[in-house]
């Protein structure tokens, strides 16, 4: 049976962006990341299309992790963008 990927189409329709990061309360949401470079309780480094995002914080934990999305919970102290 062919997979129709309804979820993906729906998400593309809602998030009309190639990639984005959203921060709310103690949650850090990354959409369309390329690679997870480092995963530690105090630092998470993610590669996105043309930048590297460094998140520094306390007790950072992965809540949800798929090929496209990453949801991190914890006290975010600093977010750093390095453009290539």
């Amino acid at each position: 049976m062919k997979n129709l990927h309804f979820n993906e189409y729906f998400k593309n329709f809602l998030f009309d962006l190639n990639n984005f990061i959203s921060i709310y309360e103690n949650n850090f949401h990354v959409f369309n990341y390329t690679k997870l470079n480092k995963l530690q309780g105090d630092e998470i480094i993610i590669t996105m299309a043309n930048k590297i995002v460094t998140i520094k914080g306390v007790d950072l934990k992965v809540i949800k992790m798929t090929k496209q999305e990453l949801l991190i919970k914890g006290e975010v102290l600093k977010v750093e963008f390095t453009y290539e």
Binding site: L36, K38, L39, Q40, G41, K61, V62, I63, K64, M65, T66, K67
Partner: protein
């Protein structure tokens, strides 16, 4: 099938290392928990198969199932219990909604069979579902219509698994036999006190004395000593009737007195047999029963046994005398009907012995003394031939 969500247990305490590895394998993680020295991740069955394939060095296992998979697993685990429950529910449903026995409440075997046949004809048989009230009413009306000459009334109601059919058969109206020629005679010796004549000729008057069998109202209507017509005499004749009643009452009287000691027991009644749960230790007792549960011919009753003792007391002469009078009165009243009563009561004799009192009472009653005496055809001819 592989997109089923499950909880996978990974026996490793390095949370960040494990998650990085899972990310490198593009494993979808929908939730995760770190518990002591192992990590729980919520992923798909398909991803779990990939974990098993690529992360050989990790000790992984399925921790729990969710959603439909969980329901499937529980169903498999408790399949016997579930089947037993379903069978029980079906049996309970059958017990509540099926008729296992039809009982026709009538003493007439022919009527019983007729009703059973009619019920069968209308689809009311055993091992079928109970019908709702409007349908039952329709069938009842149909059966009554089809058997107008035989059945008067029919009622069907359900009692648990039983269907009770109450039936009243039609009783043919018997016309009162009409007699062509009859007299009203006295049924006892009496003094006439009241007469209501509907038909016939009165041969006696009020205050006349009559003996048993004497004609009071004649069915012969005569004129100038010639019988003109013969009718069936009818009327109400009340007369004073005399009785002599003899009563002996002892001075010693027995009565019962409750001791206040009560004992409770349970009894099971099956058909007409009653079985007590506990053995009764009270010899003289009065039993009061309260029904706790009843299903057809089966009943459970709470039995209250009240202990009593029989005692004797000596009554006075006056009490014994009054008791004798009331006993005499009761004895006569038993013979009397609604419009009849005692009009005179007199003591003729009173004798007191050591242990008893003897009383002779004269009682006059007002009662209906009329009795119909039919004159048969033969007698009629005889009377015509021999005037």
């Amino acid at each position: 099938m592989n997109s089923k969500i499950i909880w996978v247990k990974i026996n490793d305490d390095n949370y960040y290392k494990v998650l990085t590895k899972l990310n490198s394998l593009s494993i979808n993680i929908y939730d995760n928990k770190k518990i002591n020295n192992y990590i729980l991740i919520k992923t798909t069955l398909k991803d779990y198969q990939r974990i098993q394939k690529y992360l050989i060095s990790y000790d992984t296992s399925i921790y729990a199932y969710t959603g439909i998979t969980k329901a499937e697993k529980i169903t498999k685990k408790y399949i016997v219990f579930l089947i037993a429950s379903i069978i029980s529910i079906i049996l309970l449903f059958m017990a509540n909604n099926m008729v296992f026995k039809i009982e026709v409440k009538s003493n007439n075997a022919k009527i019983n069979q007729l009703v059973l046949d009619e019920l069968q004809k209308n689809g009311l048989t055993t091992f079928k579902l109970k019908l709702k009230h409007p349908k039952i009413e329709k069938i009842v009306n149909k059966i009554l219509d089809d058997n107008k000459d035989t059945l008067e009334w029919l009622e069907i109601n359900y009692d648990g698994m039983f269907m009770n059919v109450y039936v009243t058969e039609k009783t043919p109206i018997v016309k009162e036999e009409e007699h062509s020629f009859c007299h009203i005679v006295a049924n006892t010796d009496a003094k006439i006190s009241n007469m209501n004549i509907y038909r016939g000729v009165a041969l006696k008057e009020i205050n006349d004395y009559v003996t048993k069998g004497e004609i009071i109202l004649s069915g012969e209507v005569s004129f100038n000593e010639e019988v003109k017509n013969k009718v069936c005499a009818s009327g109400e004749i009340y007369g004073e009737v005399w009785y002599k009643v003899k009563v002996t009452v002892p001075f010693k009287e027995t009565y019962i007195e409750y001791t206040g000691k009560n004992r409770y027991n349970l009894s099971v009644k099956i058909n007409d047999n009653t079985y007590s749960i506990l053995k009764s230790r009270i010899k003289n007792k009065k039993i009061e029963e309260t029904n706790l549960y009843k299903l057809n011919d089966f009943a459970i009753n709470l039995v209250k046994e009240k202990e009593y003792v029989t005692k004797e007391k000596i009554i006075s002469e006056e009490e014994a005398y009054n008791k004798a009078l009331s006993l005499a009165e009761e004895k006569i009243k038993l013979k009397l009907s609604a419009n009849e009563d005692i009009i005179v009561k007199k003591v003729l004799k009173k004798e007191v012995n050591d242990s008893t009192i003897y009383v002779e009472v004269f009682i006059v009653t007002k009662e209906n003394i009329a009795e119909l005496k039919v004159v048969e055809e033969d007698n009629l001819n005889d009377s015509t031939n021999n005037p």
